[in-house]
């Protein structure tokens, strides 16, 4: 039996290569993800251990719960110095410093930090050009910043720190061990110590930490214990190794999540792959009906027939896994290289490694997917009656009743699971529901394919080749349906996401026009990251005094502690003005300026906490002692202002930063917002991180992130669609083989090569467009269901991405044309006489 299986495998090279390719691509995605994240993780671990290479023990002030850590004093440093076993103890000053490029824009990174520190001469940094900063107006730049911003020794550079823009003279450029420009793509500047303290910590004579080195003969652990004992509580004392690990772990946690996302998409690709392989095996079994029946009549048992098909699947799965693993290692290495060299990471890549998980999952996934796909066809093969060997190998149109009923049930089960999932906010139920629903819809496609295909085909069949192509695509509803369903999966997911994002955009736009009664919005970069750039209070005063401004409100923001809970709070300058601008309606209490011990909050938060007007709430702010506030005002649930406690302006003084994070401006009646914008903008000339936008620009900026999300998802789903295209090619190639004699006949009675190619292309386009139409329909349903479920999250409107959907249709038609190229050429090249004689 094994020999027979191998023989039959080899005789079907082409179609097996095509279907195995589907598995190869999926496995490649899986192993590539593992290799990429593993390599990056080890690179980051290396990065941090080199970053802390000359730190034996580090001391930082311990933050009390909810409070900002108190900076270290010189006293602490001398205390550490006095500990036996300490070789050196050097005070570190570090804080955010954002360089401004020569074009006047702030230089950004893709995630790597931007900071400044005090030049001590004892760190890892070595001067490459020039000299260390010595004067109040001097800085040295990390070589990476110098290259990124094209700075040279002697140039000026403007920096944003706790203070507004300030310009320095560059005296030197430094590098790291081995001549590296940076440790990991960070942008750093070195100041003299007093300047660093003033600009980065806001105070003279304070430090953010102490770097301690051990004297000969003292271990790091012993040193840590000794230092900790000397300083007492109030300090975090850690060894450099522990710190390196902590930081690496933090990044690696993020990478793990990234890996899950990649694996999720790999799963989708493999899911699509199952369809393709299922199709191939069904076809192979159908074509082998005679052969299998012969085997049966010669005494092969059902089990042996099943075994032979499953064995075939296992061999394919095994080969595909090996190839996929190899390709995945290549792709993972390539992506890691790209990651480390572009996008401003400048990461020193660790050697490419192949983790065990990659190998195991590659084989598991590759083999399981193939075998799962082969089970149904294998069962069908085993039911072939021995007498079928004697009959003309006609494949009667099996009725679609059973498959349709099963499909309806499965789809309903998927839908139910989806509904429950949304209800319980359970991701596994949601994703499981979607997958099951896909299977259900796929089972329903054969019954749909007849009317749909003839409808789509009608548009394409103006000529005889077109008509033949259309009829051909309707010939085998199951095969057409599964091929189309594979394409449906990718397209429906993109469409679904697209519906949700369009709805979100529409909802935000509606909110902005309906409830945001503000004409200009002043905000800093990094609102989304939670650490926005801020500006000084006196600038807000200047805005208020600007010609044409009716009122201006600003707030500073921070996290505050209520018992054990962290809450988001803003300290607002003018509560009544804010209520007007956000169209807040009182639920209870009255809109009035907040007294120093009053706060306001939205009704849903009040309900959750069980607070009402008059309730006493004790809050711990970043600075100072806990303070008790009285609830003065509760507003009716609003989509534009939710999840925030509103504190009086005086509370801002105890926030980490009392600067304004966001401000809102209403212009006087009859004044144009654009004019006022022109007058307000110059106030931020020295603060390029702050932008002044009118309402529509603000909305656009908020919603523009959705485009990025959609693009990412499209890129990640491209593989699933590519696999589906392979499926179309596969189906067409098989059609060409099966219909060799018909093609020969057509050519014999005078059909031109170009007409043959057109016929195949029409068949291909019909299948692709059918898949796209299904995908759009299912995607719309998924998207609308999701939007309904997210109603409470503020997506109140349903927006349909018509343009995008039309684009997908066009792309699908195009994909059909591409997929047809090879099979069409093959068909056109057939030798007429051989084709007619083909058995």
């Amino acid at each position: 039996m094994f020999k027979a299986t191998l023989k039959s495998l080899l005789s079907r090279k082409l179609r097996l290569v095509l279907s195995a390719l589907a598995v190869v691509l999926g496995v490649m995605f899986v192993s590539g993800s593992f290799v990429l994240t593993d390599t990056l993780q080890r690179s980051f671990t290396d990065l941090f251990s080199s970053a802390f290479a000359n730190v034996d023990v580090s001391v930082t002030p311990k933050a009390e719960k909810g409070k900002e850590p108190v900076p270290l004093t010189p006293q602490a440093i001398s205390d550490v110095k006095s500990v036996p076993g300490v070789s050196s103890a050097i005070g570190d000053v570090q804080g955010s410093a954002r360089p401004i490029g020569k074009n006047g824009k702030v230089i950004t990174t893709s995630g790597s930090p931007r900071f400044g520190f005090n030049w001590t001469g004892t760190g890892q940094e070595k001067i490459r050009d020039g000299k260390a900063p010595a004067g109040e107006n001097e800085v040295a730049l990390g070589a990476y910043l110098a290259t990124t911003g094209d700075f040279k020794v002697g140039d000026d550079i403007a920096l944003l720190t706790l203070e507004p823009k300030k310009t320095f003279k560059i005296t030197g450029i430094y590098e790291y061990a081995g001549g590296r420009d940076s440790l990991g793509g960070e942008l750093s500047v070195a100041f003299t110590e007093p300047v660093a303290q003033q600009l980065l910590l806001g105070k003279k004579d304070v430090f953010s930490g102490i770097t301690v080195t051990a004297a000969q003969g003292t271990t790091d652990d012993a040193l840590r214990d000794a230092v900790a004992a000397k300083l007492g509580s109030g300090y975090d004392v850690k060894t450099g190794a522990v710190l390196a690990k902590e930081q690496a772990d933090q990044i690696n946690e993020g990478l793990k999540f990234f890996n899950y996302v990649l694996l999720g998409f790999a799963g989708i690709a493999l899911f699509v792959g199952i369809f393709i392989i299922l199709n191939t095996f069904s076809i192979i079994v159908a074509q082998r009906t005679r052969e299998l029946a012969l085997l049966r009549s010669m005494g092969a048992s059902r089990g042996q027939v099943i075994g032979s098909v499953v064995l075939e699947a296992l061999v394919i799965g095994l080969i595909a896994s090996i190839v996929g693993l190899g390709a995945g290692i290549g792709i993972g290495a390539l992506l890691a290289k790209i990651f480390s060299s572009v996008g401003g990471t400048d990461l020193q890549l660790a050697s490419i490694g192949v983790p065990m998980t990659a190998i195991i999952s590659s084989f598991a996934v590759g083999m399981i997917v193939t075998v799962v796909a082969a089970v149904m066809p294998a069962l069908r093969a085993s039911r072939i009656a021995p007498v079928a060997a004697m009959r003309e190998a006609a494949t009667p149109d099996r009725p679609l009743t059973k498959i349709t009923i099963t499909g309806a049930l499965v789809a309903a089960a998927g839908g139910t699971s989806l509904a429950f999932g949304f209800n319980q906010a359970s991701l596994p139920l949601i994703f499981g529901g979607i997958l099951v629903a896909f299977v259900g819809v796929a089972l329903l496609t054969p019954i749909m394919s007849k009317p749909m295909v003839s409808l789509i085909g009608r548009l394409l069949s103006w000529s005889m080749p077109g008509l033949l192509g259309r009829r051909n695509s309707a010939r085998n509803p199951r095969r057409t349906a599964i091929t189309a369903a594979a394409l449906m999966v990718g397209i429906s997911l993109i469409t679904g996401v697209s519906v949700v994002l369009t709805s979100a955009t529409k909802s935000i736009e509606k909110l902005a026009t309906g409830q945001l009664q503000t004409d200009l919005i002043v905000s800093g970069e990094g609102q989304m990251e939670g650490e926005p750039a801020t500006f000084r209070r006196d600038v807000l005063t200047k805005i208020e005094k600007t010609d044409g401004v009716k009122s201006a409100v600003g707030w500073s923001q921070d996290g505050v502690l209520e018992g054990e809970n962290q809450l988001f709070a803003v300290g607002v300058t003018d509560m009544p003005a804010m209520a007007t601008m956000f169209a807040l309606k009182p639920k209870s209490g009255t809109i009035a300026p907040l007294k120093d011990d009053q706060l306001a909050l939205p009704e849903e938060m009040a309900a959750e906490k069980g607070w009402s007007v008059g309730s006493k709430v004790t809050l711990q702010l970043a600075k100072g002692e806990p303070k008790t506030y009285t609830v003065g005002f509760i507003w009716v649930k609003s989509q534009v202002l939710q999840g925030a406690l509103v504190l009086p302006e005086s509370a801002s003084a105890n926030f980490r930063s009392d600067q304004i994070a966001q401000a809102f401006v209403q212009v006087s009646p009859g004044v144009s917002a654009a004019d006022v914008q022109k007058r307000v903008e110059p106030l931020f000339a020295d603060n390029p991180e702050i932008t002044v936008q009118d309402r529509s620009a603000f909305v656009k900026q908020t919603t523009s992130q959705f485009d990025t999300v959609l693009l990412m998802i499209q890129i990640l789903l491209a593989l699933a669609i590519l696999i589906a295209v392979l499926g179309v090619i596969n189906t067409l190639a098989l059609s060409v083989i099966e219909r060799t004699r018909e093609l020969g006949l057509l050519r014999a009675i005078g059909m031109r090569r170009s007409q043959v190619m057109r016929m195949i292309t029409v068949e291909s386009v019909v299948i692709s467009v059918f898949g796209a139409v299904l995908g759009l329909a299912v995607g719309l349903a998924l998207g609308i269901a999701t939007v309904q479920a997210l109603k409470d999250q503020g997506i109140s409107e349903i927006g349909l991405p018509w343009m995008t959907m039309v684009q997908y249709l066009v792309v699908a038609a195009f994909v059909g044309v591409i997929a047809a190229i090879l099979p069409a050429i093959r068909a056109a090249r057939l030798n007429v006489l051989d084709a007619i004689a083909y058995e």
């Binding site: 010939r475 057509l746 009675i749 031109r752 006489l833």
Partner: protein, 252 residues
């Protein structure tokens, strides 16, 4: 072709060999023949004598090793694929032994297929004549799977005739049919030649089938060895029997 008007297709010293070296097989060894217009010609001969090969070469389905082939006013030898395709579409009709029809098309669509492929209009009158002659009027909307073998062959005949080709080639058109259905098809081919002046060339093994023809050409080992005009089935059978003793004379 030195277009002598009475000739629909002509082979001039046609050689055809397959393969090369030791394995080379000479299927046609210098065949020259004129197929007269409006005549029903049968080609006979033992298996492997080159009947099908000759027909394929005449019909532009295969190229010749040497010699020339003409159909109507067109020199077939030397035509490229496009020219050959158009020749087959416009000047030649085909009836194969089986699998003549496209299963996705109705009988009517199958009949008009060559015209549709060529983007030509159907001559309704002629179509009706052909359909009525083959007796398929009430079967036009049926798919091939709904037709009997004889009916399928009649559809194929109708298709071969509907574009009024210069020559209709039929390779054992009745090979798969019982004698009753075979007789219907043969009778129809005979009438097409007599009543409509359609040139027909048919390869057959069956002396009875050959007796419907106006002229029977006998092939042996790639040579034309005999020919009979309007023979009876007995004459054909007799000739076939004695073909073995005939020594093939190479054509000069």
């Amino acid at each position: 072709m030195s277009a002598s008007d009475g000739v629909a297709a002509r082979a001039v010293d046609v050689w055809k060999s397959y393969g090369s070296g030791d394995a080379a097989v000479t299927a046609l060894a210098g065949v020259s023949v004129d197929l007269d217009k409006s005549r029903f010609t049968a080609i006979m001969g033992p298996s492997g004598s080159g009947k099908s090969t000759l027909m394929h070469c005449l019909a532009g389905l295969d190229d010749v090793t040497s010699g020339e082939v003409w159909v109507g006013g067109t020199k077939v030898t030397g035509l490229k694929d496009r020219g050959l395709t158009e020749l087959r579409r416009d000047k030649v009709g085909f009836i194969f032994q089986q699998f003549n029809l496209l299963p996705t098309l109705t009988a009517e669509e199958n009949i008009t297929l060559p015209l549709a492929i060529g983007g030509k209009k159907v001559d309704k009158e002629w179509f009706d004549v052909v359909v009525d002659t083959v007796g398929l009027r009430d079967r036009l909307t049926h798919r091939p799977t709904q037709l009997s073998g004889g009916q399928q062959q009649r559809v194929a005949c109708a298709r071969a005739l509907v574009s009024r080709p210069d020559v209709v080639f039929a390779d054992e058109p009745t090979g798969n049919l019982d004698s009753q259905s075979g007789a219907e098809v043969l009778g129809f081919l005979q009438r097409s030649a007599r009543e409509f002046g359609q040139t027909i060339v048919m390869v057959t093994h069956d002396p009875n089938a050959a007796s419907y023809a106006d002229r029977v050409i006998f092939l042996k080992d790639g040579h034309i060895v005999r020919e009979l005009l309007s023979p009876s089935a007995e004459e054909v059978l007799d000739t076939m029997k004695h073909l073995d003793s005939v020594v093939a004379v190479p054509h000069v």
